[in-house]
Amino acid sequence: MVFSSLTFIYVFLPLSLLFHYLSRNTLYRNIALTVFSLIFYAWGEPMWIILLLISSFYDYFNGILVERFHGTWKAKLFLILSIIGNLGILFAYKYGGFIWENIDWMLKNFNEWFSTSMETPFEKPTNTLPIGISFYTFQTISYVVDVYRGDVKAQRNPLNFLMFVSLFHQLVAGPIVRYVTIAEQIENRKVDWALISSGVGRFCFGLFKKVVVANIASELVDKYMIYTYHGDGNFDLSSYEAWFGIVMFSVQIYFDFSGYSDMAIGLGRMFGFKYDENFKHPYAAQSVGDFYRRWHISLGTFLRDYVYFPLGGGRKNRYRNVVIVWILTGFWHGASWNFVLWGLYFGCFMVIEKLLEDVLKKTPRIIRHAYTLILIVFSRALFYFDTLYLSNPHFENSDFKYESDWSPLFGFIGNLFSSPNAVNPAFYGDLMMHVYFFILVILLCIPWDEIFTEENRFRLKVERVYYFAQPAVNFALLVIATTLLVNATHNPFIYFRF
């Protein structure tokens, strides 16, 4: 189920809130929330719920055992077992196909060179990616590691642990909520109208970002990043249109994902949970490093705390550690070399920024900002065309072969810098027809809360007005989103596939 569906907003959410608040008893509320979370997860693809349950109970016991044998080699053993189990699930279901393809490719080449006849030792996995697997496996890993470090006590109640893993607010597309963040709230959460109301506001705002901004941007992306098949891999786009398309994809991916995170945080508050922020105006960043302190913060801090610091952090082999973390960040996003390249791309720029730290500091803000945005926007091509090698399902059952098997990614990048195509006259019409939309996007990307600090009088006034206007504002956002959803057929979240 997705948050931006009429089923979720008008059937699932009211029912889950109703059942959750029927009683003040925490045990009852946790049971209600767990049941609704499992219904949410099982919606449309119920078979994966078994994997979720196995993963949850596996780490539930690992957590208890790690705590029980704290300080002994057995604790380390169960920690390693937990990590192997979680990464094993992740590799089996997310990376199995990718590993098979690469082994198969290597063996084919090996056979060709050395006239051998070796075959890939296992069948190519054909399963689809279980929704949210990248998020919940990381959550459970962080839990067991935190128990091992003594940062948190193991959860003894299996129901509470299952609820932590399966909380529908953040289960399928994050943020990656660490157990330590909500350990107290699981057993004793305090809910008041201020918290619920702020959750409502956050949810409506996130819904608006997704349904209005991300979905309209996606229509432009479909139009300006899609390639026309000419049999020779050429695009029918001018450079202006190609840049416009990739900028719109950057807009889409940000509003899509941050909209989801806003909704998740808002839903959490409606049920009494306080999740950490996952985005802080990333497109206002002054450097690549700054960007990733503002973008998908829960993944960044996870890899910082559980990979970068254990590797030695900035004290030992700093640059190597940065590159490793970034390759892992890329690989987390998907089983494709594109994502590895994407991670490497940013890893390299992070290293360069560290090396040129002094130069960057002296550079004017506007230049730093422009440099960051260009690098970020350009990198989105690796996300959009998520393969380096083309296997177009359209031609799968055909004996007709595409002339070039390389991904359209390369043709698109070529078009960004040099295109023989003239600008289509309809492009200018599209710009005019979306001019208010562009203004809205810019307004929403500006970090107003950084410009107007908490003591700022103007900000205080605006907050005061919002306090009184919030029912009307949120109702209006809900109606606008509903209006567009009624006339929409398909609007999945991009981060569902990670």
Partner: protein, 446 residues
Amino acid sequence: MMNLINSIVFFASISSMVVMYFIIGDDRSDIEFHNGKAYLTEEKRELTELQPFTFENYLNGDWAKTFDLFVNDNFPHREIFMQWSVELRKLRGIEVENQEKIVYIKPKKGEQPKFDDQGNPIEYLDEYDDSYSNGLLVLNGRVYPRSGGSPKLAANFARMVSEYAAQLAGEVRVLTAVPPLSSAFIPASEYSHYNGQNQRSLEAIRNNLTNGAIFCDVFTELNNHAGEQLYFGTDHHWKPIGAYYAYVAFCKGAGFTPVPLEQMEKRTKTNFLGTMYQMTQDPSVKENPDVMDYYIPKVQSTAIRYGEFGFKGSAAKVFEHGCSGGATYSTFLGGDRPLMKITTNVKNGRKAVVIKNSMGNAFSVFLISHYEELWVVDLRYSKQNLIEIIRTNNINDLIFAPGMNHVMNPNTVNMMRRLGTQSGVYIPPKPKPVVDSTIVITDTVP
């Protein structure tokens, strides 16, 4: 206090819809009922009904998917929200009068039903493929695909046709009559490159045909009449006049004398809003419904249509004069039948098979003036073995007349290739239509 009001307003809003659904029920202005089933009037489709819950359809995800569609289709006051959404979308920017627009369409997911409960064909933009993947251009209330085909893909089609020509050498003539896409005739100079692209794509067919296969130059014939409206503006098909010029080109290739339009009966249908309007939902297109003049050859004919595997035929019509509204184009052959046999009073002993998609429907009706027997095979739906039909019925001409979009799609080219090898159940050469004045239709103007 405001926090409480905010929370209550939100909860009341999201809860009220379920309550309103039960209050409103079927009392809606956006649905109409046919044969006990509810249809969404504007969208020309059946209203989604709630599936009974079973463990099996829950496990495979069908129940949840249908439930989502059910909630969407039955959302209280859906028609009002739909109207609002059109107005809301206008707020994205500045609307310019007669502005050129590009509308991107997404392929329909999953298999679409081909026929409704009554056995009538359902009109879709079912040929979704690369011809439409670059979006549709809306220009002055008319819609065009933003594509001009590809010579390389056209060559692939020509190779397939040539294979048939080799296999059937000495038995039948193999001809092609492929029309360009409507993009070839966009009345604006900035899009004139599509004309050249279409031409190059079709020339590639000519250049790659071998084994005596005959190329009928439909493009040149249509291009000579480029100033006329050859294609619909609201639908992805061509107008009968466009199909007629293709027929003229075919006659030149086949060595026949085309029947002049004046010798046919002309009829007119108005107010046609077809698939392109459905896909774009553009108001300027809605304001420009198509008018369809069509021409009926003065030939007596009877028609029998068969299902995919065609165990037995049932009576059909070459012209379904009753078709109107969104189904206006189904006037020809009654839409896409998997296989149709037309017998005429042209006693010249010539027999032909036409391989076509829906574009070929308007074209095939002109051929009845030249053949005693015409077999019309829909390349997508027929499971009959083409070679068997040809040999059993002593066919003289095998005519490939699919739309360009199917020529450009390697999958549909392969479907045409498979027609010659698939082992569909064979139809007896002489099915027995019940000779009854009510069901054997004569398209005759004495």
